[in-house]
């Protein structure tokens, strides 16, 4: 083999090899919680101090209430969320068996609203939807994120990985260049996390609000001066699926707090 073909061969093996060959080894993964300061950690741990718990309370109310006169509440179909919704957020996005479509958690809630409750779905990133997401996420707190590849989402995970490694925007940077290759370093004073989506929806101090994973990803995209995908676009869901594959097995800490 000449040097050239040798390199091409090595590249092909690398591209076909395990997805995480050049990523963070499983035993070195750290969540955003692990990497943040003690003060923010203490705020997250204390349910009375964690501002995201307000959204959880609101979500509990929405879970139990009829969405409109004579329409069924979430609870009237699903019962006690502490029992029936345990672990659900940890395995979303998921493929719906009856239709084959892949839904993320907010998409699932919206589908139940239109198809089961017969009401107009609440918008993504509205306080009402974030509240329901936060309430559902709480039911998975401490549980490990499930592997999407192991649940038949290989194709979506591969598309998501390609996006994760794609350079974007005027600054021409990829997610991987910051989060796999330079995590832990200081980007103008901000410590770059490993981008594990364990805590969403979460209260971000910079936002002074609870926000979704898509909002976080949108921030990273606009930071590199790239055009974000439209809300709910399949590309976001593919990216989320890949991020969850990278983070499979890590414990959920939603609803979290981040700086």
């Amino acid at each position: 083999m000449t040097g050239q073909t040798g390199r091409a061969f090595a590249l092909a093996v690398f591209l076909l090899g395990p997805a995480s060959a050049d990523d963070i080894p499983a035993n070195q993964r750290l969540s955003g919680y692990d990497m943040m300061g003690a003060e923010a950690q203490a705020m997250q741990r204390d349910d009375f101090a964690n501002p995201a718990m307000l959204a959880v309370k609101e979500g509990e109310g929405l879970w139990k209430a009829a969405p409109a006169e004579g329409r069924p509440s979430c609870q009237s179909c699903h019962g006690d969320a502490a029992a029936t919704m345990k672990g659900v957020a940890a395995r979303y996005p998921a493929r719906e068996a009856s239709t084959g479509r892949v839904l993320d958690l907010p998409g699932r809630v919206q589908a139940c609203q239109t198809e089961r409750q017969g009401v107009a779905p609440v918008a993504r990133d509205s306080t009402g939807l974030l509240a329901l997401e936060a309430y559902l996420a709480l039911q998975s707190r401490g549980l490990p994120l499930a592997s999407p590849r192991a649940r038949g989402l290989e194709d979506a995970a591969s598309r998501g990985e390609a996006l994760y490694r794609q350079r974007f925007g005027q600054l021409d940077l990829s997610c991987a260049q910051c989060h796999s290759q330079n995590w832990g370093r200081s980007l103008g004073g901000t410590r770059i996390p490993q981008a594990h989506p364990t805590g969403y929806p979460l209260f971000r101090m910079e936002w002074q609000a609870i926000g979704s994973l898509q909002r976080r990803l949108r921030n990273c995209m606009t930071g590199i001066r790239a055009e974000p995908f439209p809300a709910g676009a399949p590309e976001w869901i593919d990216l989320e699926i890949y991020l969850k594959e990278r983070a499979a097995g890590m414990a959920m800490d939603a609803p979290a707090v981040r700086p």
Binding site: G169, Q170, R185, S186, L187
Partner: protein
């Protein structure tokens, strides 16, 4: 590159420390005592003018990819080829040709 005026190293310094314009200190550090938060993703800019001549500095600003295909340093004078460029930036370079010359002139003064 064709430019409309002589380089202004003082403007170059302003661009380098500006987090929205040059963005340099998001990744680099350097002799800028007034900037509290500097990056550590890239080598210090201190002494850049002793390590590289103006032509080399200019080329790195224009497009660092030419020297290191994997670099994280943004291409400051390339308007095309980036994926999904945000609407407001479409077809535009990060710096103008004049600003590239200003920064080059400023970096040339950074001698250890």
């Amino acid at each position: 590159m064709p430019v409309s005026r002589p380089p202004d190293p003082e403007n170059g310094r302003r661009i380098v420390v500006d987090r929205r314009k040059g963005l340099c200190l998001l990744c680099h550090s350097g002799p800028f005592p007034e900037v509290r938060f500097q990056g550590d993703l890239a080598p210090s800019l201190a002494g850049a003018g002793s390590r590289w001549n103006p032509a080399q500095l200019r080329a790195r600003l224009i497009d660092s990819r030419l020297f290191n295909g994997e670099t994280i340093m943004p291409p400051y004078f390339r308007a095309e080829g980036q994926f999904r460029m945000a609407g407001a930036f479409k077809g535009r370079t990060i710096l103008t040709a004049e600003e590239v010359e200003d920064v080059t002139a400023f970096l040339s003064t950074l001698r250890e």
